[in-house]
C-alpha cells in the first residue's frame, strides 16, 4: 500500500512539475499563432525527454553518479568546462525567466508591479532551497502544479469543434499569414521548451539526492513514462485553449494574463484561482529546479560536495553558487528585461544547448563499466540515436532561423 502511494505521488509530482514558464509561454504563443499545427512538436519533445530522462535516471540509480559528474569524466576537463559554461548560461537564463514568471503570476493575482515582486521571489526561492527538504520541495510544488489541469477543463468547457482541432493537429500545415521559416523557428522553440537541459541534470542529481538504487528503477520509469506524457498533455491543453479563444481574436501572446484568458472565459473566477495557484507552483518549482541545476553542475564538475542531503555547512561552495545564481538572476530581471521575451529566448537557447547534454548521456548510458547489465538495450539505443539526430538538427538550425526570422516576428 505504501509503495502504491509512493508511486502515485511520484507520478502526480511528475505531471505537475512538467510544465514551467517556457511551456506556458511557448504553448500559449504557438496556440494563438499557429493553432494546433505544431502539436506534433510537443509529442516529439515529450517522447524525447522521456527517453533521456529515463537514461539519466538509470545512470544515477545504478552508478550513483549524476549527469555532470560524467560529462567531465567523458569529455575531459577542457571540453567539459566549455560544456559547463554553455549549459550554465542557458540554465541561468531559464532560472531568471522562471523567477520572472513567478513575479508575473503574482502581479496577475495582486496587481502589484512585478519589479517589486522580483527580489521577493528571488529571496523566497533561495530561502526555500536553504531550509526546506528536497523531497518536500519536489512534492509540494509538483502536486500544486496539478492545478494547471484547469486548462484541460477549460478546453472541454469551451466545446470547441473537436474534429477541426484534431485535423489541424494530425495534418499540420502552416497558417496563411505565417511563413515556413517562422513555423520551423517556433517548432524549435517548442522543442526546446519540452526538452529543457536542466531537467536532465536535475532529474539525475535528484535521484542521487533521494538515494536511488537499482531497486528504484521501476518507480523511476513509471514517473517518467506516465508522468511526463501526461504533463505533455497539459502543454497541449494550454495550446488548445489559446487556439480556441485567442487565435480567432488575433491576439499575439506577450503576457501571462492573455494565456489565462481562455480559462477565465470558460471557468470563471474559481478557475482563475486554480490557474494562479498552478502558475505560481509551476514557475516557483521550476525556479528551484533550475537554481539547483546550476549548483549541481558547477559542483559536479569540480568534484565539490553538493546536495541538499547534507547540511549547508558541509556544502559551502554549493550553497555559494546557489546564492550567486539567485543574486545574478534578480539583477538580470531588474534591468527591466521583459520576462516573456526572456522566456522565448531561453527556450530557443535551450534547444541550441541540447546536444551538449544529450550526447554524453547517450554515451554513458551505453557504458557497461558504469551500468553493467542495465546499459542501453536496442530500443533505448535506437530511440536515443534518432533523437540525437533530431537534437543536432534543431541545434544547428536554431541560430540561422533566429536571425532570418528576427526571432519569430
Amino acid at each position: 500500500m505504501k509503495k502504491a502511494f509512493a508511486l502515485m505521488l511520484g507520478v502526480l509530482t511528475a505531471i505537475g512539475g512538467f510544465v514551467d514558464i517556457g511551456d506556458l509561454v511557448t504553448n500559449g504563443l504557438v496556440g494563438a499563432r499557429f493553432g494546433m499545427s505544431l502539436a506534433w512538436v510537443v509529442v516529439v519533445g515529450v517522447v524525447g525527454i522521456c527517453v533521456f530522462a529515463e537514461m539519466s535516471g538509470r545512470v544515477a540509480a545504478v552508478s550513483g553518479r549524476a549527469t555532470f559528474d560524467l560529462i567531465r569524466e567523458r569529455l575531459g576537463p577542457r571540453v567539459g568546462v566549455a560544456n559547463l559554461v554553455a549549459s550554465m548560461l542557458v540554465t541561468f537564463l531559464t532560472f531568471a525567466a522562471e523567477i520572472g514568471g513567478v513575479a508575473l503570476a503574482l502581479q496577475l493575482a495582486t496587481s502589484v508591479n512585478r519589479y517589486l515582486w522580483i527580489p521577493v521571489v528571488g529571496a523566497a526561492v533561495w530561502l526555500v532551497l536553504w531550509r526546506v527538504k528536497f523531497a518536500t520541495v519536489e512534492n509540494a510544488f509538483g502536486l500544486a502544479g496539478l492545478a494547471l489541469i484547469v486548462f484541460a477543463v477549460a478546453v472541454w468547457k469551451l466545446s470547441p469543434d473537436w474534429s477541426a482541432l484534431w485535423s489541424d493537429a494530425l495534418r499540420p500545415s502552416v497558417p496563411e499569414e505565417e511563413s515556413l521559416p517562422v513555423y520551423w523557428y517556433y517548432a524549435i522553440a517548442l522543442f526546446g521548451a519540452a526538452m529543457t537541459p536542466y531537467e536532465v541534470f536535475f532529474f539525475s542529481s535528484g535521484g542521487v539526492e533521494e538515494r536511488w538504487s537499482a531497486k528504484n528503477l521501476a518507480t523511476m520509469r513509471a514517473n517518467v513514462f506516465v508522468g511526463f506524457p501526461l504533463g505533455g498533455l497539459l502543454s497541449l491543453a494550454i495550446a488548445a485553449a489559446a487556439t480556441i479563444v485567442l487565435m480567432p481574436a488575433k491576439v499575439e501572446v506577450d503576457s501571462l494574463g492573455q494565456i489565462a484568458l481562455p480559462v477565465v472565459q470558460a471557468t470563471g473566477k474559481i478557475g482563475l484561482a486554480f490557474l494562479l495557484v498552478g502558475f505560481f507552483a509551476a514557475t516557483f518549482g521550476a525556479a528551484c529546479e533550475t537554481s539547483l541545476s546550476i549548483g549541481y553542475s558547477v559542483a559536479q564538475y569540480f568534484g565539490w560536495q553538493w546536495g541538499k542531503f547534507v547540511e549547508p555547512l558541509r556544502a559551502a561552495r554549493f550553497h555559494t553558487v546557489l546564492l550567486l545564481a539567485t543574486v545574478g538572476a534578480i539583477a538580470l530581471l531588474l534591468t527591466t528585461v521583459d520576462p516573456i521575451m526572456l522566456t522565448e529566448y531561453s527556450v530557443v537557447f535551450s534547444a541550441i544547448a541540447l546536444p551538449l547534454t544529450y550526447l554524453p548521456i547517450l554515451i554513458v548510458a551505453n557504458d557497461r563499466t558504469y551500468l553493467g547489465d542495465h546499459a542501453n538495450g536496442r530500443v533505448a539505443n535506437a530511440l536515443g540515436s534518432v533523437y540525437l539526430v533530431v537534437v543536432l538538427a534543431a541545434s544547428v538550425a536554431a541560430i540561422p532561423l533566429m536571425l532570418f526570422t528576427k526571432a519569430g516576428q
Binding site: 485567442l246 488575433k250 491576439v251 506577450d254 477565465v264 472565459q265 473566477k269 516576428q409
Partner: protein, 148 residues
C-alpha cells in the same frame, strides 16, 4: 563616388537585421510598418475586449481585468511612437500615416476609458467602453484589410 554611397547602404542593410525600425526606404516597407502597428494594436484591443467581456459577465475578478486592460493600454504608446517616429517616404504615404495613427489613437482612448471604468467598478461605463472598443477594433480591422 562609390565609397560615399557605401556606408549608408551598409547601414541600411545592417539595421533591419537588428530589428530596429528605421527610415523606411520605400512605400512598400512603410506599408509593412503600418501593418505591423495595426496588428499589434488589434492584438492589444482584442485582449482587452476579452477581459472586459469576462468582467461584464462576472467571470473575471476586478484585479485580473485591471491588469490586462492596463497592459493593453500600456502597449499603445510604444506602437504610436515607433510607427509615428518613422518618416513617410513619399507624400502619398501621409494619408496612411494619419489613418493608422488615428485608428491606434482611438483604440488607446477606448482602452483608457475601460481602465478607468474597471478601477471605479462602474459596470455601465465599462459596458460603454466595451462598445467603444468594439468600434475601434472594427475600424482597425477594416484598415488592416485594406492594406492587404
Amino acid at each position: 563616388m562609390r565609397s560615399r554611397h557605401a556606408l549608408p547602404a551598409v547601414l541600411l542593410a545592417v539595421l533591419p537585421l537588428t530589428g530596429c525600425v528605421t527610415t523606411a526606404v520605400d512605400s512598400g516597407a512603410y506599408v509593412e510598418n503600418g501593418k505591423a502597428a495595426l496588428d499589434s494594436t488589434i492584438s492589444a484591443t482584442a485582449s482587452a475586449q476579452l477581459a472586459v467581456q469576462a468582467r461584464l459577465s462576472g467571470d473575471a475578478p476586478r484585479m485580473f481585468t485591471d491588469v490586462l486592460v492596463t497592459e493593453s493600454e500600456g502597449s499603445i504608446a510604444p506602437i504610436e511612437s515607433s510607427f509615428g517616429g518613422v518618416d513617410p517616404p513619399n507624400p502619398s504615404d501621409d494619408a496612411l500615416r494619419d489613418a493608422v495613427l488615428d485608428a491606434v489613437g482611438t483604440a488607446g482612448d477606448a482602452l483608457s476609458d475601460a481602465r478607468v471604468a474597471i478601477r471605479r467598478d462602474d459596470m455601465t461605463a465599462l459596458a460603454a467602453a466595451g462598445t467603444d472598443l468594439q468600434k475601434a477594433q472594427s475600424a482597425l480591422k477594416s484598415l488592416r484589410e485594406s492594406l492587404g
